[in-house]
Amino acid sequence: CPPTRNSQQQTSFKRGSDLFGYVGIDAVLEQMQRKTMKAGFEFNIMVVGQSGLGKSTLVNTLFKSKVSRKSCTSNFEEKISKTVRLHAVSHVIEEKGVKMKLTVIDTPGFGDQINNENCWEPIVKYVNEQYEKYLREELNINRKRRIPDSRVHCCVYFLPATGHRLRPIDVEFMKRLGKMVSIVPVIAKADTLTVEERQEFKERIREDLTANGICVYPQREYDEDPEERALNDRIRKSIPFAVVGTDKEHQVNGNKVLGRKTKWGIIEVENVAHCEFANLRDLLIRSHLQDLKDVTHNILYETYRVQRLNESNMNFSELVLSTWPLGNGTDKCETESQL
């Protein structure tokens, strides 16, 4: 018989369990993550509420950067505009290698007039316009790989800390916008409420919300599985969050904390015993940011799209070829900067 030739061992090969069991498909997850990290994320947050409720301060505190210009600074032109004009500003912020393009949409003038009827209309128009822009891009013949997403992912609605109930303007706004965008109501400047007052206020607000059929985020009907439902139920039992915002630091027990200093004590913003800012931040950013985007994309945007396709009795290509100008009720000063 011919002599057997021993194969030369040059490179190593997979052993044992690798040989017989491991294909390696979990690496797909990593590939996907790497790609999304490179591309970066976008997040668009809208703040709605009367002047002076601390909207800009809160957003700045949330993202630990000056992403929103406060209207109380001395060089800001004091002018209560006659109509609600929307104002969108973008910044790119980075943390631990993750890049995010954050757009804050401000709504100065909302609820500031004597007669506030229909003050939500410019906002409704803006939200629809962003949906329309996305739809057009999606229908385009030569569409971009990543369609720029200017849709409003989250609308933080500021309730003044009256301690009573929802006001008519609050009900009107949330009713109309609740079906179009994810609303996160917050109790602003909550340092005027004691803990008991706060609890009662929240309960009354929750009652009012249910009584008026208003759906706020996280919407019950969009829970996908029992696990998510359980998680979100617990959140629903504690909204709206009572927040305090600031960008000033003080010394407490040898530590520097963000807080508001008064004669009777220092209100620590990030102390959960003082206010619920940390809870809001964790909800919006650390645990549900992607979910906010998903709800906007998969549910709210799809609803808009179906509506549009139904009402336009046109076929597909006409929609693409039509040249409707997008109406302009918005002040879009988009400034991009690297913080």
């Binding site: 979990d26 690496a27 990290m37 030569n142 009795n313 693409v320």
Partner: protein, 375 residues
Amino acid sequence: MDAIMLQEKLVERLLCPRVRTARQKEKQYVGFATLPNQVHRKSVKKGFDFTLMVAGESGMGKSTLVNSLFLTDLYKDRKLLNAEERINQTVEIIKHTVDIEEKGVKLKLTIVDTPGFGDAVNNNECWKPITDYIDQQFEQYFRDESGLNRKNIQDNRVHCCLYFIPPFGHGLRPVDVEFMKALHEKVNIIPLIAKADCLTPTEIKKLKDRIREEIDKFGIKVYQFPECDSDEDEEFKQLDKELKECTPFAVIGSNTVVEARGQRVRGRLYPWGIVEVENQSHCDFVKLRNMLIRSHMHDLKDVTCDVHYENYRAQCIQEMTSKLAQDNRMESPIPILPLSTPDVDTEKLIKMKDEELRRMQEMLNKMQQQMHDKD
């Protein structure tokens, strides 16, 4: 940390007051660096899908290779036809689906087989059923995507096509060239040299060089590996370079386990030695598997979605609009809205709209008739 556990932990902290620990380092930390984890959690729940097509003549070892790649046995009850039965056989398209789960990640793998390709005496246009199949999947996806209910779109588009080139010849044959040219703009083609254990290393190198030359010469666009990131380490870049220089991969597959050098390996037992499938010095199987599954699966899907599908879509729309422009009469709208599974409400709506259109068309015809009569 498991992404789901992380999420739960965050909600816990959300709702329960806790003792303040050293927060100094957390000061500048906003927290959106958890975004990749949040996205991760959703993908684990959803799972992935991947459609792989294998094409080549019978007996090239396609089924064996697929079984080796995914460590499954997809072709258990296969009946091989004899020569007579195959005379009148046309190219069929057969799909096998298997669900694989590993470390919590689910993959729904679909293998599209093309038995009969290149087997007949006259193989003219034998790739036509294959291109038709690929186009059909694109069309189906296009309709679904343009439809009203987009909740559960199934992605059946072919993400990758492994094309098996026989090792016996001197490079690409006419049928190889024609096939790849017919498909290179519809699907990611990865050419492989099949049954590479009948070639010596020098012969393999010669054949690979020859094939690469011919691919360039005929202008065939096979799947290109994306460029390495500039911030990857040197070792990775070196591996990447080696991978690119090794194409087309020379592969061997095996369903049997043999004993070699005191270990059980997948291989083929010959009187003159044992060929080990997973030995990198024997064949490129490991490189193919790593590339296909472990490093480029997602990119293959992306190129299919972003390039091949978009080209198809753009072409489709342009054809439709040019047709519309040519016909000046008002026709009923081209069915883009779903014809597949409309629900009751949508059906009613579509019927209503159709009725309206028909009425409008009648009116228009009447008016035209009247004007005609007047002249």
